[in-house]
């Protein structure tokens, strides 16, 4: 009856991993409401009651699972932010590659994130998305400010708009990297590093010139 998250923590590491992995796949494939606790326990071969003992209910399971993942969404950013001796555009390029790497390494988590983006009924959506977006915005703002200070970006750049645009373009870059194109679409115009460099160059030009050059 009590959620008792202690129970789950006491499980052997291997089993804990399997439980979370299987559940992640289910949520990634079906979203939250269409995900079926029945299917999860069936695939795991454990009793239904056990899962509810561990996490209280479906939402508890999701919260546990995705809460741990949120940290993962932030990690690649930190590593790059702490690099020194790189220009703004090199950092953007590395961010693109690092983000794609994360998407490749944790495709299921990214699929959940994408489903959560536009599904207002996803539980804890506000909290999780807020955390992720906040971290990314903060990261990008920091990068831009560093870039301005280093003279790599025009001093009169509108930081808010730049954050928005960078965020938008980069997010979309990851999306296209993760989601298989529809049938018949021209897929994979180039390999990842080339695509990243190409986009970084594009952004460089977009941001570099002073807006008053008109």
């Amino acid at each position: 009856m009590t959620p008792s998250p202690k129970t789950f923590e006491n499980l052997p590491e291997e089993k804990r991993r399997r439980v979370l992995d299987e559940a992640t796949v289910e949520f990634a494939e079906h979203g939250y409401h269409q995900a079926s606790v029945n299917r999860i326990v069936d695939r795991l071969g454990i009793a239904k009651g056990s899962l509810f003992k561990y996490f209280g209910n479906k939402q508890g399971l999701f919260e546990h699972l995705f809460g741990r993942a949120v940290a993962g969404f932030k990690k690649p950013l930190k590593e790059i932010r702490d690099t020194s001796g790189l220009t703004f555009f090199e950092r953007i390029e590395r961010s693109l590659v690092a983000g794609c790497r994360f998407v490749e390494d944790h495709p299921q988590l990214y699929r959940i994130y994408l489903k959560m983006l536009f599904n207002e009924n996803f539980p804890l959506r506000e909290r999780f998305l807020g955390e992720i977006r906040g971290a990314h915005a903060k990261y990008l703002r920091r990068l831009i400010e560093d870039g301005i200070q280093a003279g790599q970006l025009p001093a009169d750049l509108d930081t808010d708009t730049a954050v928005f645009t960078l965020h938008a373009v980069m997010d979309r870059f990851f999306q296209d990297h993760a989601v298989p194109p529809l049938d018949g679409e021209p897929s994979e115009p180039a390999a990842l590093p080339d695509k990243a460099r190409s986009l970084a160059e594009f952004l460089r030009r977009g941001l570099a010139a002073t807006p008053s050059q008109e």
Copy 2:
């Protein structure tokens, strides 16, 4: 078993509109699978059997409703494509505004589109997304080619990448226009026309320079 779309066509205009509006709201709020035919008919105050007479089944209802919408997605593009005497960037700017106008006029349809984007289980997803994306890609390609011919874009521009980037940025522009920002986020940095001009200018710079200028 008896789809009989005739039945629906024979209904008085006002009722037809109410049915489609209510159903659209339901799909917009809950996506496809979580949308409830029960809720729809309850809100409409009609019998469940009636809805199934009109559209055969849930998917038929969705197909009818969203199929009509797809045409709406394409219309604003056509109008701009047929303008003459405008530069490439003026056209992009108008596209952004027109797209936002559509999103504002049909917020529920756009919400459905967004939910469909990352939910692989959405029925008819491939068909509808393919149609929409195809139309947009074709439209953008045309714009870019016109721009090159008019000397407003560099002749050696990689058209494929340009289409991809334009599409990505514009799509995201509409998304941010449509989806209310999460609590506490800095919302609405600027009014629509300013945002559109600002982004168009950004894209102008990104595309204008020749990539070989390095």
Copy 3:
């Protein structure tokens, strides 16, 4: 609201025939309860209300349709009963052939009859089956009595048992003629006339000897 069978009688002959034929096929394929009035009117291309005006309700339609058919079930018997100059076994043989001819000419009606046989929920089952069986029993009894009088059957034959047995065997003969054998079964060991003669011969021997001959 009123059944108003007059309405149907006033229809042009051709339309009346189509309505009954289509309905007969539906009942033959699905039995009574699984038969769908929707499907019938769809195939006919007439309004649902019309059918209910004609026959009041589903049962009225079935009653009309099968009531007319019952006469058909009796007709072949009468023709043979009125033959003279034929022996008992020749008459049996002709009955078998005539019955098979009827089954071939009206396969849908016979399928309905077979479905009715063991489905107690068929409406009007008692009345229709009673009529058909009664006519057949009366017919067979007459044949047997004629046969005894003509010295073609033993005088001490138990008429009741003979009627039962004849009825059973002949009915089954028609069933096997009508119902396609299951996959892989040895079908069609012989053509109809041979089968009929063979069975008549078998019955001849079964009935001919006096039971006391042991």
Copy 4:
């Protein structure tokens, strides 16, 4: 989606029996499609979900229930086939009695079998009927061959026709034993043993003479 027949096997014997009995009655009374899972669970006083956990779906319930019955259809035959020291006709007589006993002991299963006979839409019909008919045909063929070897049947008997005829007559014998005669029909001309002996004698004569004696 989770058939899980384990669940049902784990139930206490008494409950398992009640569930199957109640379901059998429902199918016997209404056939497959008109049988109502709702009615079954209402009579049982259990939740609807439980039944679906046990058998996956309606067809699974029917398959379980009737699959077990099919074995029962074959058992009485085996016992007689393995008797020795009995003549062909004694074996036929015993078969008739044993078959009737089975029909009396399991009237609901036999009613299902009869409904299945002429209802082409019965699920699993081909499989179940094929199994039953196959076993019976094999059994009768064996009996006839034994009878020929023992000199109790003419050596030149057409085995195929004999199997068909025996099968037809015996099947019909059971049917008349099981199905209550229609109102007003002369019922029960004799008790079972007498009827069986009488029919066996009839068959003896039908088969005994050589067909060439004409």
